[in-house]
């Protein structure tokens, strides 16, 4: 049970934050659209504040709990750029990501969001399978 405490508690905090944003400002906590809006508008002010909060919140959490900061992701810089391009392109084309579709959309019982969530979970799982198989074959 203990190993599940942090994932569950973290998930509940994410849920509370999403509901807090909806209840106060009436906005959906979809990070991909908030990130794009913070960069390009419209309504940049609240979106920039939210993005700044994300970064500061993570920093504060590690300071308060003493949880170690995760080590740098494994992989080359070009792979980070390719992955980032796909995540940005895909979330803007598909109107959302794990938070907007997966938490807020499903919370609103949106079939569109449920479908999107199943699709990105499936391709994420397939991608990891393919990458691991490739690595094992090459090494």
């Amino acid at each position: 049970m203990e190993e599940f405490f942090e994932p569950i508690a973290g998930g509940i905090l994410i849920g509370i934050a999403s509901m807090g944003l909806l209840a106060t400002l009436g906005r959906v906590a979809g990070i991909s659209s908030i990130a794009w809006g913070a960069f390009a508008g419209p309504d940049r002010e609240w979106r920039l504040l939210f993005v700044m909060g994300l970064v500061a919140g993570a920093a504060i959490l590690h300071t308060l709990t003493g949880n170690p900061i995760p080590s740098a992701p494994e992989g080359s810089l070009p792979l980070a750029v390719i992955a980032g391009l796909l995540v940005g392109f895909g979330t803007r084309m598909g109107s959302g990501c794990t938070s907007g579709h997966g938490i807020c959309g499903i919370g609103r019982l949106s079939l569109r969001s449920l479908v999107a969530t199943c699709v990105f979970m499936a391709t994420g799982i397939i991608t990891v399978l393919v990458m691991r198989t490739l690595m094992e074959t090459l090494l």
Binding site: L13, R92, T98, F120
Partner: protein
């Protein structure tokens, strides 16, 4: 500073991501590796968040207006179109390649890893490109 709740909820969201393990790409890849050494922990993140969201969302959006704004701003596009499917599929591939979805990528800027800055810059570029190609179909009611 009428937008202060955005800062507060962003802080809580970022803390939740960091606590949950979502900002640890090894954990995320392990979670997606269901055909290998599957690490199911992160399922509980989605579970915890969804319990709150499924419980509270219907209640909140039934209010006549939010507490500190004039109206709710909710998505109105309900169509399951090819943008949704292809976009979702491409996003999943990028997520599986590196281990970051947008929230954890941004929150992890706090860790100061060079590759995370590159990932986030590329992510914004990808978003710009999809918009430039006219592929974004999201619409809000207000």
């Amino acid at each position: 500073m009428k937008h202060w709740p955005a800062l507060l909820t962003g802080l809580i969201f970022g803390a939740g991501l960091a606590l949950s393990g979502m900002t640890n790409t090894t954990k995320v890849i392990g979670f997606l590796d269901v055909f290998g050494a599957w690490d199911p922990d992160l399922m509980f993140v989605m579970g915890g968040a969804l319990v709150v969201s499924l419980g509270a969302t219907p209640w909140i959006i039934a209010w006549t207006q939010p507490l500190l704004a004039e109206a709710f701003s909710l998505p109105i596009n309900k169509s399951i179109d090819k943008q949704l499917i292809i976009g979702g599929a491409l996003f999943g591939i990028g997520w599986g390649l590196w281990g970051y979805c947008p929230g954890p990528a941004i929150a992890s800027l706090a860790y100061g890893h060079e590759s995370t800055i590159a990932f986030c810059a590329a992510m914004i570029l990808g978003m710009w490109l999809a918009g430039k190609l006219g592929l974004n179909t999201s619409r809000l009611n207000s």
